[in-house]
């Protein structure tokens, strides 16, 4: 299986990984490392490969630029940031990080069954709402799309899952009804 990215920076709370142009994982994607570390994609960025190099403006469309100056793209790297939140091992999920993520770790897509396992653990939502919204302003949108993707894939009664998940989220957000309502409204069943 082809990897989605490779970890190039490790901080305690966020990983920075390099991916491929036009193949960056969407926000809210859950990835795993070959050693089972799980992480959630929370932002994207593009940067120079050569330190200190300043890109300049060309005034052309992307397509034109790709044709005429392909080196411009070759000098850039495509990156995403992901927050690690747990580990996956032998069909079970641990919402606790007990492994250090090595630099150059490769990150892969997760499978539906793995994501289902994660969603079974309601504590996963504690993690989601512990993400600092002032640092990652897209947090709530990410959560909405994450839940939507999960419910869309479900075959059984979606209402029950909705109620199960939001009953738990209501407890977390009991003092922030506005956010709760925003998320509930964003999720469709």
């Amino acid at each position: 299986m082809k990897h989605i990215g490779e970890v190039i920076t490790v901080r305690s709370d966020v990983l920075v990984a390099e991916g491929e142009r036009s193949a960056l994982p969407p926000l809210g994607t859950i990835l795993k490392s070959d050693r089972g570390v799980l992480c959630l994609v929370v932002s994207h960025s593009i940067d120079n490969k050569i330190p200190g190099r300043m890109p300049i403006a060309y005034g052309k469309s992307i397509e034109q630029l790709e044709r005429e100056q392909p080196q411009v793209f070759a000098l850039m790297k495509w990156m995403f940031q992901a927050i690690p939140f747990g580990t996956l091992s032998e069909g079970s999920v641990e919402l606790f990080l007990n492994k250090v993520v090595e630099i150059h770790t490769l990150l892969f897509e997760t499978r539906k069954e793995e994501r289902d396992l994660i969603f079974k653990e309601l504590r996963f939502f504690d993690f989601l709402f512990s993400i600092d919204k002032s640092v990652f302003p897209q947090r709530d949108k990410i959560i909405v799309s994450l839940i939507n993707a999960y419910l869309n894939d479900l075959l059984e009664v979606k209402e029950d899952e909705y109620v199960r998940i939001f009953s738990y989220i209501s407890k977390i957000l009991r003092n922030d009804y506005q956010t709760l309502k925003y998320i509930m409204d964003g999720v469709s069943i």
Partner: protein
């Protein structure tokens, strides 16, 4: 957890237990008056739902309320919630099933559930030897029993508006008392409902006490029109005292002057006084004036007295005879354990004057005779049943008649009152306080509701339950029951008849089969 409706959130013995409902429990599935058990470690706490409420922990929710059912369910429990307030009454010790009054409370988060059959059986199961099935919890089919022995030891009352089911409940209880030989009843049957037949608004004619118990019940009537009567009531003039008449003043439009005049004549002639007055009914003005002078009374007051007594003297069961043989017969029956129903047929149906005169005089005579009997002879408990008792037990006249005395002295002579009434607020409060067990059915008037709970701990809470009662439902509390019981009175129907008319000692069909 099995049948859990929620958990104990807060509370005290005095203010009740506040139960936070589980989010999956619909508040509409619970009702005021339902029995709830909160499970502690050592005891199960048995109580009654006194109030149901909904609330929220975050008012923001009302600015942008959940849009649909799933959203509403999702936020329930965390942001919105339902709670029930349960008044605890009893504790069932888990290790022994012993039931005691509430003395402590369980810990936070103790599980709450609706009472189940087992709880009801332990609390109202009638372990007593003479337990009698009278009804069921409002929302369950389990049986509620009362201890008839305990009931009969004190005065009792059934209160409720017309049509609430007082007479039917009364008849059920009386059936129990007769079947189990707990007391001899003397029933003053104002509307002729406790003798051979009963009337039902829905079912027409039904069996009543005599129809059910045959010779264990005798029917007396003031009118010989009643073909079901075993005997007839005659009241001799000599049995009526001036005091009796004073008590009937509300029916005779009797004045203070007449009352005084009656006293003077009564004093002068003793038990012959009424006879003397009666003789003047056809007298001329001049003759009356002459008698007035002779007796030392005002002549116009005497004329007024004669006029006022006319209605009474026209009751043809009041006669110029010596012996009150019917009273003697009634007493003999009661002493024997036979119950007596006094009816008012023919022209005396729905005649308050006939009713109250007979009830008052017979009761007084019976009480006199019983009180003067030896203690041995008094071993049968007598329970006197009166309807519309407020007329006899109001504050202004309760001291002037026998019912007030019986109410106060119930235990002295083994004679108790069973009062059936629509207007408890008009009964003297001291008399009310002597009522051991109260069966309160639907009431509408605030004054009446307040009256029935006077002097009752937690009365204001019980009032909430009372307000929810439907016809044929009753809130029962007091001496004979361990906890107040809101209940649906059992059906008075064929299966009831079958149950009570089965002889207590006769072997059942199954036993008989096994014998042969």
């Amino acid at each position: 957890m099995n049948g859990s409706i929620g958990f104990l959130k807060s509370g005290s013995i005095g203010d009740g237990f506040l139960i936070r409902l589980n989010k999956t429990v619909n508040s509409e599935s619970l009702q005021i008056g339902d029995f709830i058990v909160v499970q502690g470690d050592l005891y199960d706490y048995f109580g009654i739902i006194e109030d149901i409420r909904i609330g929220s922990s975050n008012e923001d929710v009302f600015f942008n309320p959940p849009e649909n059912k799933v959203q509403r369910i999702a936020v329930k429990g965390a942001i919105t919630f339902s709670e029930v307030l349960v008044t605890p009454y009893l504790m069932i010790e888990k290790s022994t099933n012993r039931v005691v009054t509430i003395k402590t409370i369980p810990e936070h988060f103790s599980d709450a559930r609706k009472a189940n059959e087992r709880d009801i059986r332990i609390v109202f199961g009638g372990n007593a030897e003479k337990a009698f099935h009278v009804g069921s919890p409002l929302t369950m089919d389990e049986r509620i029993y009362i201890d008839l022995e305990k009931l009969a030891k004190r005065n009792n009352a059934i209160f409720g508006i017309t049509g609430s089911g007082k007479t039917f409940l009364g008849r059920i209880i009386f059936s129990g008392l007769i079947k189990h030989d707990v007391a001899s009843l003397l029933i003053f049957d104002m509307h002729n409902e406790y003798g051979q037949f009963a009337k039902s608004e829905k079912k027409g004619k039904l069996k009543s006490l005599k129809g059910l118990f045959g010779t264990k019940v005798k029917v007396f009537d003031v009118s010989d029109k009643n073909s079901n009567a075993d005997d007839f009531i005659k009241i001799p003039y000599g049995d009526i005292a001036a005091a009796d008449i004073a008590m009937l003043s509300f029916l005779l439009s009797y004045s203070q002057h007449s009352e005084e005049t009656a006293w003077i004549i009564n004093k002068r002639f003793g038990d012959k006084w009424l006879k003397h007055v009666e003789e003047l009914r056809s007298a001329t003005e001049a003759e009356i004036e002459e008698k007035a002078k002779e007796w030392g009374v005002n002549s116009s007051s005497l004329s007024a007295l004669i006029r006022h007594l006319d209605k009474l003297l026209s009751l043809d069961f009041i006669q110029n005879i010596k012996e009150d043989s019917s009273v003697q017969k009634i007493l003999r029956y009661l002493k024997n354990g036979t119950s007596v129903v006094v009816q008012f047929s023919g022209k005396y149906a729905n005649n308050p004057l006939a009713y109250f005169t007979v009830a008052n005089i017979i009761t007084r005579r019976i009480h006199e005779l019983y009180a003067s009997a030896s203690e041995e002879e008094r071993n049968k408990r007598i329970m006197i049943v009166v309807e519309e008792a407020h007329k006899l037990l109001s504050s202004d006249i309760k001291d002037k008649n026998i019912f007030g005395t019986i109410a106060r002295e119930m235990r002295k002579y083994n004679v108790t009152l069973f009062v059936i009434d629509q207007r408890p607020s008009e009964i003297d409060s001291e008399v009310l306080s002597q009522v051991g067990t109260r069966f309160v059915m639907q009431l509408m008037d605030e004054k009446d509701m307040d009256a029935v709970f006077q002097g009752v701990g937690g009365g204001s809470r019980l009032k909430k339950i009372l307000r929810t009662l439907q016809p044929q439902e009753v809130l029962l509390f007091g001496y004979a029951v361990m906890a107040p019981v809101p209940m649906r009175v059992r059906e008075y129907n064929e299966s009831f008849f079958k149950e009570v008319s089965e002889s207590v000692s006769a072997p059942s069909a199954e036993d008989a089969d096994e014998l042969y």
